[in-house]
Protein backbone atom coordinates (compact mmCIF):
# COMPACT_ATOMS: atom_id res chain seq x y z
CA UNK A 1 0.00 0.00 0.00
CA UNK A 2 2.63 2.48 1.08
CA UNK A 3 4.90 1.04 -1.63
CA UNK A 4 3.61 3.60 -4.08
CA UNK A 5 5.18 6.36 -2.01
CA UNK A 6 8.98 6.40 -2.34
CA UNK A 7 11.08 6.45 0.84
CA UNK A 8 12.65 9.75 -0.21
CA UNK A 9 9.30 11.53 0.07
CA UNK A 10 8.87 10.48 3.69
CA UNK A 11 12.44 11.48 4.50
CA UNK A 12 11.88 14.87 2.89
CA UNK A 13 8.81 15.47 5.03
CA UNK A 14 10.89 14.58 8.10
CA UNK A 15 13.71 16.88 6.99
CA UNK A 16 11.28 19.74 6.42
CA UNK A 17 9.73 19.20 9.84
CA UNK A 18 13.20 19.12 11.41
CA UNK A 19 14.20 22.41 9.82
CA UNK A 20 10.94 24.10 10.74
CA UNK A 21 11.45 22.92 14.32
CA UNK A 22 15.04 24.15 14.29
CA UNK A 23 13.89 27.55 13.06
CA UNK A 24 11.34 27.64 15.86
CA UNK A 25 13.95 26.74 18.45
CA UNK A 26 16.37 29.39 17.16
CA UNK A 27 13.97 32.25 16.50
CA UNK A 28 11.39 32.08 19.28
CA UNK A 29 11.80 34.28 22.33
CA UNK A 30 9.27 32.50 24.45
CA UNK A 31 10.80 29.54 26.30
CA UNK A 32 7.67 27.46 25.69
CA UNK A 33 7.91 28.31 21.99
CA UNK A 34 11.50 27.05 21.93
CA UNK A 35 10.38 23.83 23.59
CA UNK A 36 7.69 23.42 20.91
CA UNK A 37 10.35 23.72 18.22
CA UNK A 38 12.39 21.03 19.92
CA UNK A 39 9.33 18.74 20.10
CA UNK A 40 8.85 19.18 16.34
CA UNK A 41 12.49 18.17 15.80
CA UNK A 42 12.00 15.03 17.88
CA UNK A 43 8.89 14.18 15.87
CA UNK A 44 10.84 14.45 12.64
CA UNK A 45 13.41 12.02 14.03
CA UNK A 46 10.60 9.60 14.81
CA UNK A 47 9.25 9.87 11.27
CA UNK A 48 12.72 9.07 9.97
CA UNK A 49 13.04 6.03 12.18
CA UNK A 50 9.60 4.64 11.38
CA UNK A 51 10.21 5.17 7.66
CA UNK A 52 13.53 3.34 7.83
CA UNK A 53 11.83 0.52 9.68
CA UNK A 54 8.96 0.23 7.22
CA UNK A 55 11.01 0.42 4.04
CA UNK A 56 14.31 -1.19 4.98
CA UNK A 57 13.79 -3.71 7.77
CA UNK A 58 10.07 -4.38 8.14
CA UNK A 59 10.56 -7.72 9.88
CA UNK A 60 12.73 -6.23 12.64
CA UNK A 61 11.76 -3.73 15.31
CA UNK A 62 14.83 -1.56 15.99
CA UNK A 63 13.36 1.56 14.41
CA UNK A 64 10.11 1.22 16.31
CA UNK A 65 11.88 0.59 19.62
CA UNK A 66 14.09 3.63 19.12
CA UNK A 67 11.03 5.77 18.33
CA UNK A 68 9.22 4.63 21.47
CA UNK A 69 12.25 5.46 23.62
CA UNK A 70 12.41 8.90 22.05
CA UNK A 71 8.75 9.51 22.86
CA UNK A 72 9.42 8.48 26.48
CA UNK A 73 12.37 10.82 26.80
CA UNK A 74 10.44 13.64 25.14
CA UNK A 75 7.72 13.28 27.75
CA UNK A 76 10.26 13.43 30.60
CA UNK A 77 11.99 16.39 29.04
CA UNK A 78 8.74 18.27 28.57
CA UNK A 79 7.69 17.63 32.17
CA UNK A 80 10.98 18.82 33.64
CA UNK A 81 11.29 21.70 31.19
CA UNK A 82 7.84 23.06 31.79
CA UNK A 83 8.30 22.84 35.56
CA UNK A 84 11.52 24.78 35.10
CA UNK A 85 9.78 27.39 32.96
CA UNK A 86 7.18 27.86 35.68
CA UNK A 87 10.01 28.30 38.20
CA UNK A 88 11.50 30.95 35.91
CA UNK A 89 8.15 32.70 35.78
CA UNK A 90 8.01 32.70 39.57
CA UNK A 91 11.26 34.57 39.96
CA UNK A 92 11.26 36.68 36.79
CA UNK A 93 7.56 37.21 35.99
CA UNK A 94 8.34 36.50 32.34
CA UNK A 95 9.26 33.57 30.13
CA UNK A 96 11.05 35.57 27.45
CA UNK A 97 14.58 34.28 27.16
CA UNK A 98 15.87 37.74 26.13
CA UNK A 99 14.64 39.22 29.34
CA UNK A 100 16.01 36.36 31.43
CA UNK A 101 19.63 37.34 30.94
CA UNK A 102 21.33 38.75 34.00
CA UNK A 103 24.85 37.39 33.42
CA UNK A 104 27.10 39.04 30.90
CA UNK A 105 30.67 38.80 29.70
Amino acid sequence: MIDSVPLEWVLLVAAALFCVGLYGALARRNAIGILMGVELMLNSVNINLVAFWRYLEPHQVTGLVFAIFIITVAAVEAAVGLAMIIAIYRSWQTVNVDAVDSMKG
Binding site: E57, T62, M103
Partner: protein, 542 residues
Protein backbone atom coordinates in the same frame (compact mmCIF):
# COMPACT_ATOMS: atom_id res chain seq x y z
CA UNK B 1 25.82 -16.68 21.22
CA UNK B 2 23.60 -14.39 23.24
CA UNK B 3 24.22 -10.88 22.02
CA UNK B 4 21.83 -9.25 24.42
CA UNK B 5 21.86 -8.54 28.10
CA UNK B 6 21.03 -11.39 30.46
CA UNK B 7 20.57 -11.79 34.17
CA UNK B 8 24.02 -13.36 34.51
CA UNK B 9 25.50 -10.10 33.30
CA UNK B 10 24.42 -8.24 36.42
CA UNK B 11 27.96 -8.11 37.93
CA UNK B 12 29.01 -6.14 34.86
CA UNK B 13 26.50 -3.47 35.75
CA UNK B 14 27.23 -3.52 39.47
CA UNK B 15 28.58 0.04 39.88
CA UNK B 16 25.54 1.49 38.08
CA UNK B 17 23.13 -0.67 40.05
CA UNK B 18 24.77 0.32 43.33
CA UNK B 19 24.48 3.99 42.37
CA UNK B 20 20.77 3.47 41.71
CA UNK B 21 20.28 1.68 45.03
CA UNK B 22 22.15 4.41 46.87
CA UNK B 23 20.02 7.07 45.18
CA UNK B 24 16.82 5.34 46.26
CA UNK B 25 18.24 4.93 49.77
CA UNK B 26 19.03 8.63 50.00
CA UNK B 27 15.56 9.52 48.72
CA UNK B 28 13.90 7.11 51.14
CA UNK B 29 15.94 7.88 54.24
CA UNK B 30 15.17 11.58 53.88
CA UNK B 31 11.60 10.78 54.85
CA UNK B 32 12.66 9.56 58.29
CA UNK B 33 14.50 12.73 59.22
CA UNK B 34 13.14 15.43 61.48
CA UNK B 35 11.30 17.83 59.20
CA UNK B 36 11.47 20.95 61.29
CA UNK B 37 10.94 24.47 60.09
CA UNK B 38 13.93 25.90 61.93
CA UNK B 39 17.36 26.37 60.42
CA UNK B 40 19.04 23.78 62.64
CA UNK B 41 16.86 20.84 61.78
CA UNK B 42 17.00 21.69 58.11
CA UNK B 43 20.76 21.65 58.28
CA UNK B 44 20.59 18.30 60.05
CA UNK B 45 18.63 16.87 57.12
CA UNK B 46 21.17 18.22 54.66
CA UNK B 47 23.99 16.71 56.66
CA UNK B 48 22.33 13.30 56.92
CA UNK B 49 21.65 12.99 53.19
CA UNK B 50 25.08 14.38 52.34
CA UNK B 51 27.02 12.03 54.60
CA UNK B 52 25.07 9.02 53.37
CA UNK B 53 25.86 9.99 49.78
CA UNK B 54 29.54 10.60 50.46
CA UNK B 55 30.02 7.34 52.38
CA UNK B 56 28.08 5.38 49.77
CA UNK B 57 30.03 6.88 46.89
CA UNK B 58 33.29 6.10 48.65
CA UNK B 59 32.23 2.45 49.05
CA UNK B 60 31.07 2.22 45.43
CA UNK B 61 34.41 3.67 44.33
CA UNK B 62 36.25 0.98 46.29
CA UNK B 63 34.02 -1.79 44.89
CA UNK B 64 34.60 -0.54 41.35
CA UNK B 65 38.33 -0.43 42.02
CA UNK B 66 38.20 -4.03 43.24
CA UNK B 67 36.16 -5.05 40.20
CA UNK B 68 38.56 -3.41 37.79
CA UNK B 69 41.45 -5.43 39.24
CA UNK B 70 43.90 -2.56 38.85
CA UNK B 71 45.17 -2.70 42.40
CA UNK B 72 44.50 -6.35 43.26
CA UNK B 73 43.65 -9.22 40.98
CA UNK B 74 42.50 -12.49 42.51
CA UNK B 75 44.95 -15.21 41.47
CA UNK B 76 43.46 -18.07 39.45
CA UNK B 77 44.40 -20.68 42.07
CA UNK B 78 42.83 -18.87 45.00
CA UNK B 79 40.88 -21.17 47.34
CA UNK B 80 37.12 -21.48 47.01
CA UNK B 81 35.40 -19.83 49.89
CA UNK B 82 32.47 -17.55 50.25
CA UNK B 83 34.25 -14.19 50.12
CA UNK B 84 36.72 -15.11 47.45
CA UNK B 85 33.91 -16.41 45.25
CA UNK B 86 32.19 -13.06 45.53
CA UNK B 87 35.41 -11.31 44.57
CA UNK B 88 35.93 -13.72 41.68
CA UNK B 89 32.43 -13.16 40.30
CA UNK B 90 32.90 -9.43 40.72
CA UNK B 91 36.17 -9.41 38.82
CA UNK B 92 34.76 -11.64 36.08
CA UNK B 93 32.34 -8.83 35.37
CA UNK B 94 35.28 -6.47 34.95
CA UNK B 95 37.50 -5.89 31.97
CA UNK B 96 38.78 -9.48 31.86
CA UNK B 97 35.53 -11.01 30.63
CA UNK B 98 33.99 -10.90 27.19
CA UNK B 99 34.09 -7.14 26.62
CA UNK B 100 30.90 -6.43 24.74
CA UNK B 101 27.52 -7.63 25.86
CA UNK B 102 24.78 -6.25 23.69
CA UNK B 103 24.56 -2.56 24.19
CA UNK B 104 27.19 -2.36 26.83
CA UNK B 105 30.96 -2.84 27.10
CA UNK B 106 33.00 -3.46 30.22
CA UNK B 107 36.44 -2.90 28.78
CA UNK B 108 39.29 -0.91 30.30
CA UNK B 109 37.89 2.33 28.92
CA UNK B 110 34.62 1.77 30.78
CA UNK B 111 36.34 0.80 34.02
CA UNK B 112 38.67 3.80 34.01
CA UNK B 113 35.75 6.02 33.05
CA UNK B 114 33.69 4.69 35.95
CA UNK B 115 36.54 5.27 38.41
CA UNK B 116 37.01 8.85 37.22
CA UNK B 117 33.30 9.66 37.22
CA UNK B 118 32.44 8.04 40.54
CA UNK B 119 35.56 9.60 42.06
CA UNK B 120 34.49 13.01 40.80
CA UNK B 121 31.00 12.54 42.25
CA UNK B 122 32.58 11.52 45.56
CA UNK B 123 34.72 14.65 45.74
CA UNK B 124 31.75 16.84 44.78
CA UNK B 125 29.56 15.29 47.46
CA UNK B 126 32.29 15.98 50.01
CA UNK B 127 32.39 19.59 48.81
CA UNK B 128 28.67 20.02 49.36
CA UNK B 129 28.84 18.79 52.97
CA UNK B 130 29.67 22.25 54.26
CA UNK B 131 27.47 23.92 51.69
CA UNK B 132 23.79 24.11 52.38
CA UNK B 133 21.68 23.14 49.37
CA UNK B 134 18.76 24.94 50.94
CA UNK B 135 15.77 22.70 50.30
CA UNK B 136 15.02 19.08 49.47
CA UNK B 137 18.49 17.67 50.32
CA UNK B 138 17.40 14.08 49.66
CA UNK B 139 16.40 14.87 46.10
CA UNK B 140 19.51 17.00 45.59
CA UNK B 141 21.88 14.15 46.39
CA UNK B 142 19.73 11.53 44.66
CA UNK B 143 19.90 13.56 41.46
CA UNK B 144 23.69 13.76 41.72
CA UNK B 145 23.81 9.97 42.07
CA UNK B 146 21.42 9.29 39.19
CA UNK B 147 23.37 11.66 36.98
CA UNK B 148 26.57 9.81 37.89
CA UNK B 149 24.85 6.57 36.92
CA UNK B 150 24.01 8.07 33.54
CA UNK B 151 27.62 9.18 33.08
CA UNK B 152 28.94 5.68 33.82
CA UNK B 153 26.52 4.30 31.23
CA UNK B 154 27.66 6.93 28.75
CA UNK B 155 31.22 5.72 29.14
CA UNK B 156 30.08 2.14 28.58
CA UNK B 157 27.44 2.41 25.85
CA UNK B 158 28.24 0.67 22.60
CA UNK B 159 24.91 1.19 20.94
CA UNK B 160 22.95 4.23 19.78
CA UNK B 161 19.80 3.76 21.87
CA UNK B 162 21.71 3.13 25.11
CA UNK B 163 24.04 6.00 24.31
CA UNK B 164 21.14 8.39 23.78
CA UNK B 165 19.26 7.29 26.88
CA UNK B 166 22.36 7.57 29.04
CA UNK B 167 23.06 11.06 27.67
CA UNK B 168 19.57 12.04 28.75
CA UNK B 169 19.91 10.31 32.12
CA UNK B 170 23.04 12.39 32.67
CA UNK B 171 21.62 15.67 31.43
CA UNK B 172 18.14 15.83 32.90
CA UNK B 173 19.30 15.63 36.56
CA UNK B 174 21.98 18.19 35.73
CA UNK B 175 19.38 20.61 34.33
CA UNK B 176 17.55 20.40 37.63
CA UNK B 177 20.75 20.65 39.69
CA UNK B 178 21.96 23.68 37.72
CA UNK B 179 18.70 25.39 38.58
CA UNK B 180 18.92 24.37 42.20
CA UNK B 181 18.01 27.44 44.14
CA UNK B 182 20.84 29.09 45.96
CA UNK B 183 20.67 32.46 47.64
CA UNK B 184 20.13 34.15 44.30
CA UNK B 185 17.02 32.41 43.00
CA UNK B 186 16.80 34.49 39.88
CA UNK B 187 20.29 33.66 38.75
CA UNK B 188 20.12 29.95 39.44
CA UNK B 189 16.76 29.47 37.76
CA UNK B 190 18.12 31.35 34.77
CA UNK B 191 21.12 29.01 34.67
CA UNK B 192 18.85 25.98 34.86
CA UNK B 193 16.62 27.18 32.04
CA UNK B 194 19.50 28.09 29.74
CA UNK B 195 21.12 24.73 30.32
CA UNK B 196 17.83 22.97 29.68
CA UNK B 197 16.98 24.79 26.45
CA UNK B 198 20.44 24.30 24.93
CA UNK B 199 20.50 20.70 26.11
CA UNK B 200 17.11 19.94 24.57
CA UNK B 201 18.21 21.46 21.27
CA UNK B 202 21.43 19.47 21.30
CA UNK B 203 19.62 16.20 21.98
CA UNK B 204 17.42 16.94 18.96
CA UNK B 205 20.56 17.30 16.85
CA UNK B 206 22.13 14.10 18.23
CA UNK B 207 18.94 12.20 17.51
CA UNK B 208 18.61 13.39 13.94
CA UNK B 209 22.20 12.36 13.32
CA UNK B 210 21.59 8.98 14.93
CA UNK B 211 18.51 8.39 12.79
CA UNK B 212 20.47 9.12 9.60
CA UNK B 213 23.33 6.86 10.66
CA UNK B 214 20.85 4.13 11.56
CA UNK B 215 19.16 4.49 8.18
CA UNK B 216 22.51 4.27 6.43
CA UNK B 217 23.45 1.14 8.35
CA UNK B 218 20.14 -0.60 7.63
CA UNK B 219 20.22 0.34 3.96
CA UNK B 220 23.77 -0.81 3.35
CA UNK B 221 23.44 -4.32 4.76
CA UNK B 222 22.10 -6.14 1.71
CA UNK B 223 18.83 -7.99 2.06
CA UNK B 224 17.79 -6.10 5.17
CA UNK B 225 18.97 -6.66 8.70
CA UNK B 226 18.83 -10.14 10.14
CA UNK B 227 18.78 -9.17 13.79
CA UNK B 228 17.79 -6.25 15.95
CA UNK B 229 21.30 -4.93 16.30
CA UNK B 230 21.63 -2.32 13.59
CA UNK B 231 22.15 0.43 16.16
CA UNK B 232 25.32 -1.11 17.57
CA UNK B 233 28.50 0.79 16.89
CA UNK B 234 30.20 -2.33 15.55
CA UNK B 235 27.44 -2.97 13.02
CA UNK B 236 27.63 0.65 11.91
CA UNK B 237 31.38 0.25 11.46
CA UNK B 238 30.67 -2.89 9.45
CA UNK B 239 28.23 -0.97 7.27
CA UNK B 240 30.70 1.84 6.75
CA UNK B 241 33.35 -0.64 5.70
CA UNK B 242 31.40 -1.46 2.55
CA UNK B 243 32.60 -0.07 -0.74
CA UNK B 244 32.13 3.66 -1.24
CA UNK B 245 30.65 4.14 2.22
CA UNK B 246 33.35 6.60 3.25
CA UNK B 247 32.23 8.89 0.43
CA UNK B 248 28.57 8.68 1.43
CA UNK B 249 27.23 12.13 2.18
CA UNK B 250 24.40 10.70 4.25
CA UNK B 251 26.78 9.03 6.67
CA UNK B 252 28.95 12.14 6.94
CA UNK B 253 25.90 14.28 7.61
CA UNK B 254 24.70 11.94 10.35
CA UNK B 255 28.15 11.99 11.93
CA UNK B 256 28.26 15.80 11.77
CA UNK B 257 24.95 16.04 13.62
CA UNK B 258 26.19 13.65 16.29
CA UNK B 259 29.45 15.58 16.73
CA UNK B 260 27.54 18.88 16.91
CA UNK B 261 25.13 17.49 19.50
CA UNK B 262 27.83 16.01 21.72
CA UNK B 263 29.84 19.19 21.14
CA UNK B 264 27.02 21.11 22.80
CA UNK B 265 27.16 18.84 25.81
CA UNK B 266 30.91 19.23 26.26
CA UNK B 267 30.86 22.95 25.34
CA UNK B 268 33.19 23.12 22.36
CA UNK B 269 33.20 26.37 20.38
CA UNK B 270 30.93 27.14 18.43
CA UNK B 271 28.53 25.20 20.67
CA UNK B 272 29.65 26.78 23.93
CA UNK B 273 27.41 29.81 24.44
CA UNK B 274 25.45 28.32 27.34
CA UNK B 275 28.38 27.34 29.47
CA UNK B 276 29.69 30.59 31.07
CA UNK B 277 26.19 31.63 32.16
CA UNK B 278 25.31 28.19 33.49
CA UNK B 279 28.61 27.85 35.33
CA UNK B 280 28.21 31.28 36.89
CA UNK B 281 24.60 30.81 37.93
CA UNK B 282 24.84 27.33 39.44
CA UNK B 283 25.84 26.37 42.94
CA UNK B 284 29.66 26.22 42.90
CA UNK B 285 30.00 22.48 43.76
CA UNK B 286 27.50 21.74 40.98
CA UNK B 287 29.59 23.88 38.64
CA UNK B 288 32.55 21.71 39.58
CA UNK B 289 30.48 18.62 38.74
CA UNK B 290 29.26 20.06 35.43
CA UNK B 291 32.68 21.15 34.28
CA UNK B 292 34.44 17.91 35.12
CA UNK B 293 32.34 14.76 35.28
CA UNK B 294 29.76 15.64 32.66
CA UNK B 295 32.49 16.82 30.28
CA UNK B 296 34.60 13.73 30.87
CA UNK B 297 31.60 11.47 30.21
CA UNK B 298 30.82 13.40 27.03
CA UNK B 299 34.37 12.99 25.78
CA UNK B 300 34.42 9.28 26.58
CA UNK B 301 31.20 8.83 24.60
CA UNK B 302 32.47 10.96 21.72
CA UNK B 303 35.69 8.96 21.66
CA UNK B 304 33.90 5.62 21.65
CA UNK B 305 31.41 6.61 18.95
CA UNK B 306 34.05 8.08 16.65
CA UNK B 307 36.52 5.27 17.14
CA UNK B 308 34.23 2.25 17.04
CA UNK B 309 31.41 3.41 14.77
CA UNK B 310 33.31 5.58 12.30
CA UNK B 311 36.84 4.13 12.08
CA UNK B 312 36.62 4.29 8.30
CA UNK B 313 36.01 8.01 8.23
CA UNK B 314 39.01 9.24 10.20
CA UNK B 315 40.63 11.35 7.46
CA UNK B 316 43.81 13.32 7.94
CA UNK B 317 44.79 16.41 9.89
CA UNK B 318 47.46 17.65 7.53
CA UNK B 319 46.65 21.08 6.28
CA UNK B 320 48.32 20.59 2.90
CA UNK B 321 47.12 17.24 1.68
CA UNK B 322 43.47 18.03 1.95
CA UNK B 323 40.69 17.77 4.47
CA UNK B 324 38.21 15.01 5.08
CA UNK B 325 36.88 12.80 7.84
CA UNK B 326 36.29 13.65 11.45
CA UNK B 327 39.87 14.37 12.45
CA UNK B 328 39.95 17.39 10.13
CA UNK B 329 36.69 18.68 11.50
CA UNK B 330 37.87 18.19 15.08
CA UNK B 331 41.17 19.89 14.29
CA UNK B 332 39.30 23.02 13.21
CA UNK B 333 37.05 22.86 16.28
CA UNK B 334 40.07 22.37 18.55
CA UNK B 335 41.90 25.38 17.15
CA UNK B 336 38.82 27.60 17.39
CA UNK B 337 38.13 26.39 20.92
CA UNK B 338 41.58 26.93 22.39
CA UNK B 339 41.99 30.34 20.75
CA UNK B 340 38.58 31.80 21.56
CA UNK B 341 38.33 30.11 24.97
CA UNK B 342 41.63 31.55 26.15
CA UNK B 343 41.05 35.01 24.65
CA UNK B 344 37.57 35.30 26.14
CA UNK B 345 38.92 34.36 29.55
CA UNK B 346 41.36 37.29 29.59
CA UNK B 347 39.00 40.16 30.55
CA UNK B 348 36.90 38.20 33.06
CA UNK B 349 36.75 39.50 36.61
CA UNK B 350 34.33 36.93 37.99
CA UNK B 351 36.42 33.87 38.70
CA UNK B 352 33.64 31.36 38.04
CA UNK B 353 33.22 32.87 34.58
CA UNK B 354 36.98 32.91 34.09
CA UNK B 355 37.22 29.23 34.96
CA UNK B 356 34.23 28.54 32.69
CA UNK B 357 36.09 30.00 29.71
CA UNK B 358 39.24 28.23 30.80
CA UNK B 359 37.39 24.92 30.86
CA UNK B 360 36.08 25.61 27.36
CA UNK B 361 39.71 26.05 26.31
CA UNK B 362 40.61 22.79 28.05
CA UNK B 363 37.92 21.00 26.03
CA UNK B 364 39.86 22.14 22.97
CA UNK B 365 43.01 20.47 24.30
CA UNK B 366 41.12 17.23 24.94
CA UNK B 367 39.91 17.23 21.35
CA UNK B 368 43.49 17.55 20.16
CA UNK B 369 44.14 14.08 21.58
CA UNK B 370 41.64 12.70 19.07
CA UNK B 371 43.88 14.05 16.29
CA UNK B 372 46.03 10.99 16.86
CA UNK B 373 43.52 9.03 14.79
CA UNK B 374 44.60 10.96 11.73
CA UNK B 375 47.70 8.82 11.81
CA UNK B 376 47.50 5.35 10.25
CA UNK B 377 49.84 3.85 12.87
CA UNK B 378 48.40 1.91 15.78
CA UNK B 379 51.16 3.12 18.11
CA UNK B 380 50.28 6.79 17.58
CA UNK B 381 46.59 6.05 17.98
CA UNK B 382 47.07 4.25 21.27
CA UNK B 383 49.30 7.10 22.42
CA UNK B 384 46.45 9.50 21.64
CA UNK B 385 44.07 7.35 23.65
CA UNK B 386 46.38 7.34 26.66
CA UNK B 387 46.89 11.10 26.36
CA UNK B 388 43.13 11.67 26.21
CA UNK B 389 42.39 9.64 29.32
CA UNK B 390 45.34 10.99 31.28
CA UNK B 391 44.22 14.52 30.46
CA UNK B 392 40.68 13.77 31.55
CA UNK B 393 41.89 12.32 34.88
CA UNK B 394 44.17 15.26 35.63
CA UNK B 395 41.68 17.85 34.47
CA UNK B 396 38.87 16.35 36.55
CA UNK B 397 40.90 16.37 39.75
CA UNK B 398 42.32 19.84 39.11
CA UNK B 399 39.08 21.53 38.19
CA UNK B 400 37.16 20.07 41.12
CA UNK B 401 39.91 21.48 43.31
CA UNK B 402 39.83 24.88 41.63
CA UNK B 403 36.06 25.25 41.86
CA UNK B 404 36.19 23.87 45.40
CA UNK B 405 38.66 26.58 46.39
CA UNK B 406 36.34 29.16 44.82
CA UNK B 407 33.43 27.69 46.76
CA UNK B 408 35.35 28.12 50.00
CA UNK B 409 36.29 31.67 49.05
CA UNK B 410 32.76 32.67 48.13
CA UNK B 411 31.41 31.06 51.30
CA UNK B 412 33.89 32.64 53.67
CA UNK B 413 34.94 35.87 51.96
CA UNK B 414 31.54 36.54 50.45
CA UNK B 415 32.10 36.50 46.70
CA UNK B 416 34.09 35.00 43.86
CA UNK B 417 35.45 37.94 41.90
CA UNK B 418 39.12 38.95 41.68
CA UNK B 419 38.51 41.68 44.25
CA UNK B 420 37.31 39.17 46.82
CA UNK B 421 40.43 37.07 46.44
CA UNK B 422 42.75 40.02 47.00
CA UNK B 423 45.42 39.30 49.56
CA UNK B 424 43.97 35.89 50.39
CA UNK B 425 47.44 34.59 51.21
CA UNK B 426 47.66 36.88 54.24
CA UNK B 427 44.25 35.86 55.48
CA UNK B 428 44.55 32.10 54.95
CA UNK B 429 47.85 30.85 53.58
CA UNK B 430 46.68 27.23 53.29
CA UNK B 431 43.73 28.07 51.06
CA UNK B 432 45.85 30.35 48.91
CA UNK B 433 48.48 27.63 48.46
CA UNK B 434 45.88 25.06 47.47
CA UNK B 435 44.34 27.49 44.98
CA UNK B 436 47.80 28.16 43.58
CA UNK B 437 48.43 24.44 43.05
CA UNK B 438 45.20 24.05 41.05
CA UNK B 439 45.69 27.22 39.04
CA UNK B 440 49.28 26.28 38.16
CA UNK B 441 48.11 22.84 37.10
CA UNK B 442 45.43 24.36 34.88
CA UNK B 443 48.04 26.66 33.37
CA UNK B 444 50.30 23.69 32.68
CA UNK B 445 53.31 24.47 34.88
CA UNK B 446 55.56 21.58 35.97
CA UNK B 447 55.59 19.70 38.31
CA UNK B 448 51.77 19.75 38.39
CA UNK B 449 49.77 17.11 36.53
CA UNK B 450 48.50 19.65 34.04
CA UNK B 451 51.93 20.04 32.49
CA UNK B 452 52.42 16.39 31.62
CA UNK B 453 48.84 16.08 30.42
CA UNK B 454 49.29 18.90 27.92
CA UNK B 455 52.70 17.55 26.94
CA UNK B 456 51.34 14.08 26.09
CA UNK B 457 48.51 15.57 24.07
CA UNK B 458 50.84 17.78 22.06
CA UNK B 459 53.13 14.82 21.44
CA UNK B 460 50.30 12.61 20.16
CA UNK B 461 48.89 15.34 17.94
CA UNK B 462 52.34 16.21 16.59
CA UNK B 463 53.07 12.62 15.62
CA UNK B 464 49.85 12.42 13.69
CA UNK B 465 50.90 15.37 11.54
CA UNK B 466 48.65 18.01 13.05
CA UNK B 467 51.59 20.35 13.70
CA UNK B 468 49.52 23.49 13.12
CA UNK B 469 47.09 22.43 15.83
CA UNK B 470 49.96 21.85 18.24
CA UNK B 471 51.50 25.23 17.46
CA UNK B 472 48.18 26.95 18.21
CA UNK B 473 47.92 24.94 21.40
CA UNK B 474 51.37 26.02 22.60
CA UNK B 475 50.78 29.69 21.78
CA UNK B 476 47.38 29.77 23.49
CA UNK B 477 48.84 28.05 26.54
CA UNK B 478 51.18 31.03 26.84
CA UNK B 479 48.23 33.43 26.53
CA UNK B 480 46.36 31.43 29.15
CA UNK B 481 49.29 31.82 31.52
CA UNK B 482 48.45 35.53 31.78
CA UNK B 483 45.04 35.19 33.35
CA UNK B 484 46.07 32.31 35.57
CA UNK B 485 48.92 34.44 36.89
CA UNK B 486 46.48 37.32 37.45
CA UNK B 487 44.65 35.11 39.93
CA UNK B 488 47.90 34.34 41.72
CA UNK B 489 48.88 38.01 41.72
CA UNK B 490 45.58 38.95 43.33
CA UNK B 491 45.95 36.19 45.88
CA UNK B 492 49.57 36.61 46.88
CA UNK B 493 50.77 40.10 46.05
CA UNK B 494 47.87 42.54 46.30
CA UNK B 495 46.87 44.11 49.60
CA UNK B 496 43.91 42.50 51.36
CA UNK B 497 40.77 44.50 51.99
CA UNK B 498 40.77 43.32 55.59
CA UNK B 499 43.27 41.27 57.55
CA UNK B 500 40.64 39.19 59.29
CA UNK B 501 41.64 35.51 58.98
CA UNK B 502 39.43 33.36 56.76
CA UNK B 503 38.06 30.14 58.32
CA UNK B 504 38.31 26.86 56.44
CA UNK B 505 35.34 24.44 56.53
CA UNK B 506 36.50 20.94 57.49
CA UNK B 507 35.14 18.81 54.68
CA UNK B 508 35.95 21.27 51.96
CA UNK B 509 39.45 21.42 53.34
CA UNK B 510 39.72 17.63 53.17
CA UNK B 511 38.47 17.60 49.57
CA UNK B 512 40.87 20.30 48.49
CA UNK B 513 43.85 18.62 50.15
CA UNK B 514 42.94 15.28 48.53
CA UNK B 515 42.68 16.90 45.11
CA UNK B 516 45.93 18.81 45.56
CA UNK B 517 47.80 15.67 46.59
CA UNK B 518 46.38 13.86 43.55
CA UNK B 519 47.40 16.68 41.22
CA UNK B 520 50.97 16.59 42.55
CA UNK B 521 51.15 12.78 42.51
CA UNK B 522 49.86 12.64 38.93
CA UNK B 523 52.43 15.22 37.90
CA UNK B 524 55.44 13.73 39.66
CA UNK B 525 54.70 10.01 39.31
CA UNK B 526 52.58 9.77 36.15
CA UNK B 527 53.36 6.06 35.84
CA UNK B 528 51.04 5.40 38.78
CA UNK B 529 48.11 5.74 36.40
CA UNK B 530 49.73 5.60 32.97
CA UNK B 531 50.45 1.87 33.19
CA UNK B 532 46.75 1.32 33.86
CA UNK B 533 45.64 3.75 31.18
CA UNK B 534 47.91 2.13 28.62
CA UNK B 535 45.82 -1.02 28.91
CA UNK B 536 43.01 0.75 27.06
CA UNK B 537 45.06 0.74 23.82
CA UNK B 538 42.19 -0.39 21.69
CA UNK B 539 38.55 -0.11 22.54
CA UNK B 540 36.49 -3.25 22.81
CA UNK B 541 35.64 -4.78 19.49
CA UNK B 542 38.21 -2.87 17.48
Amino acid sequence: MPVFFQISDVPRLLPELLLLVLALLVLGSDMFERWGEDEESRFERVRAAGSLTAIGLGLIFLITLLQSGYVYRLPADAPQNFFLTIVRNLQNGGPVGDPVVGSFATDHLTMIGRLVLIGAAFLVSLLTLDYRPANNPGEFYALILLSTMGMCLMAAATELITAYLSVELTSIPLYILAGYFQTNTRQSSEAGMKYFLFGALSSGLILYGMSLVFGFAVASIPGGAQANDMTQFLRIAQATATEGAAASKLLTLGMLFIIAGVGYKVAVIPFHSWSPDVYEGSLTPITAFLSTASKAAGFLLLYRILVTAFPNLTGTAEIVSGFGGWTSLLAVLAVATVVLGNLAALPQRNLKRLLAWSSIAHAGFVIMALMAWASPYASTRSMGTSALIYYLVVYTVTNIGAFGALAVASMTVGGDTMEHLRGLARRNLGLATLLAIFVLSLAGIPPMGGFLAKFYIFMAAWQSGAWWVVMTGVVTTMIGLYYYLLILKATFIEEPASTEPVPMPTWMNATLITSAVLVLLLGVFPNLVLTTIDQVKVVAGM
